[in-house]
Symmetry: C2
Subunit: 341 residues, 2 copies
């Protein structure tokens, strides 16, 4: 059974997937397919994935068959399983629980395109709407505390051998360390100032302008003040909003426009770099475990963090959480702004 284990010192959680999972015949078949040049994510190859969880499709098109625009399927080798009991327990001084959760793959286009930057704005909008739909749906299960959507593009960023553009969703029954830290920091700032730290950051960036890469009516793309990675970019909604799934139709459109633009600027400036992005959005509200999330709507602000990965993370940065970045965000913003689109 897959488990979640907690480090007794730092409170960091680690997922141990079920060992047998890795010998799944379907996973081996998947690798064979790719070697044969068959892409399981292309339209017409629906039979090579597990049955779909959700799809945007043209009217009349059938489930698990051609005619879809965005398609969501379970990860073929899921790290978490939704049908388990939470099973919180101790092994003497250590804490563990069953790895309850969801692990899904969002196939972002029926066509064999590798980089989201190369899709049309309307298609990217459909991807964003799919993110919204999946998060809203999974939040109905109150056991699923945190829901992450992330993308690994390029081998160095940890991408799977399937090059067809896709993102992943992981929903999990704990609040991972980094999200907890962010929520705590944002709450402390709010408690002290009675203002959202992200809203303050947006105001300051709009006033100094030197770290702004681009913006439109609803969104702002900046090189954050303490960028960990060279040419790191954050996209933030200009209007305060803790939950990504609250996005309006217009906002979906404007986010698609800005996300495409930023990814294109990175692609041109850095010559198609590997990158990760990860959606940071408020966790599922419950009052379980005596914690109240009453202020969360005021003090947290969803955003997307995009991290080009052409420098390697070495032992020092890994072990300490202290980063060395040779390019200042002011330089990064200036060069990203100057890209001709």
């Amino acid at each position: 059974m897959p488990t979640l284990r907690r480090d007794p010192v730092t409170g960091r959680w680690v997922i141990n997937p079920d060992g047998k999972q890795n010998q799944l015949p379907s996973l081996i078949q998947m690798e064979e397919l790719i070697q044969k040049g068959i892409c399981p994510f292309c339209e017409g190859n629906e039979k090579y994935t597990p049955p779909e969880i959700f799809a945007k499709r043209v009217p009349g098109a059938e489930k698990d068959s051609p005619g879809w625009q965005v398609r969501v399927v379970p990860n073929i080798s899921p790290a978490l399983k939704v049908e388990l009991e939470l099973g919180r327990r101790a092994e003497r001084m250590y804490d563990l629980m069953n790895a309850v959760g969801a692990h899904e793959v969002i196939i972002e286009t029926p066509r064999h395109i590798a980089n989201l930057a190369d899709l049309e704005v309307l298609q990217i909008k459909k991807v964003i709407e799919t993110y919204k739909q999946r998060i809203s749906d999974l939040k109905n299960d109150l056991r699923l505390r945190s829901i992450f959507i992330f993308k690994n593009y390029g081998k160095r960023a940890g991408s799977s051998p399937i090059r067809h553009t896709h993102s992943q969703l992981i929903a999990v029954s704990v609040t991972p360390k980094n999200l907890k830290e962010e929520l705590k920091g944002a709450k402390e700032y709010y408690d002290y100032k009675e203002r959202c730290v992200f809203c303050d950051m947006i105001k300051q960036e709009l006033s100094t302008k030197k770290r702004i890469i681009s913006s439109n009516f609803d969104f702002l793309a900046i090189a954050p003040f303490a960028s960990r990675f060279t040419h790191e970019v954050w996209i933030l909604p200009r209007k305060h909003n803790a939950d990504f799934e609250n996005l309006s139709n217009d906002e979906c459109q404007n986010l698609a426009i800005l996300l495409k633009e930023v990814l294109l600027r990175l692609k041109i400036l850095l010559k198609d770099p590997p990158y990760n992005y990860i959606l940071h959005s408020a966790p599922n509200r419950t009052k379980r475990r005596g914690r109240s999330w009453n202020t969360l709507s005021q003090d947290y602000h969803w955003h997307i963090e995009i991290m080009p990965r052409y420098t390697r993370i070495d032992g020092f940065e890994w072990g300490t959480g202290l980063y060395i970045n040779a390019t200042t965000p002011e330089e990064a913003a200036a060069s990203l702004r100057s890209v001709k689109l």
Copy 2:
């Protein structure tokens, strides 16, 4: 001027080295040397490094010339500089300071050997004694709050192009996020139980035995309960001790024996994998900034974390701090124990 910037949400620090540093003629010369097959870390090539900070050498041998056993030199492209003022300041809502600190390279043998595992125990003991000496010396500068010693072995672990075995030391004027977290977790456990969490962990591991890889009179090597990486290993002193530099002569010897043994087991089992190790030791005690470290000697316990790096860290693990590890520590310990040395 190199700066340290603080992320306003999470409190994470990022070093921005001086931009000009990267065009240093010495750094370009270094790359040319390596291309010509000249190793700047070999005995006889002392002139290719900056003047040494410290060395263990045979009696009578001169500084910056042959006859040394372990040699410490400044990093040729240092991320931090010791001669700066702290200069803590604000840029409106953001916080920054000058990047005060030290960045040194510990050359672990005069011979051209790549992996520390292949040195003799007596030579590894000299390396450990050098770590001790450098930490003790730098702790005299009370501005240097945290001192890290780490090793990047193999390209995937972020190693420099110089293959000659070496580690690095970074001393910095802040407490990086991960160390802060560890200190906080250990203190909370101590406040609650009045026992050191690491001592409790050692007792439990000795009693259940299933995650022990090896041990000797002074040290224990375990696969930690919540291992982030496949075949992650921690080496801990069996006797409570917060500060690495308190090591006795016998303990240096026993640490050398166990470190060599663990690295050899990893090398044989995983076929010479890339790895990082990082020394976790208590920060420099001062009462600056209103913080008292009175209990630190009781509640913290130094240790070395060794992380084989043959799985890539993807966007999810990076962004969330939640790890997926397909090998349980019990399986990892069993296979590392079974290696024939």
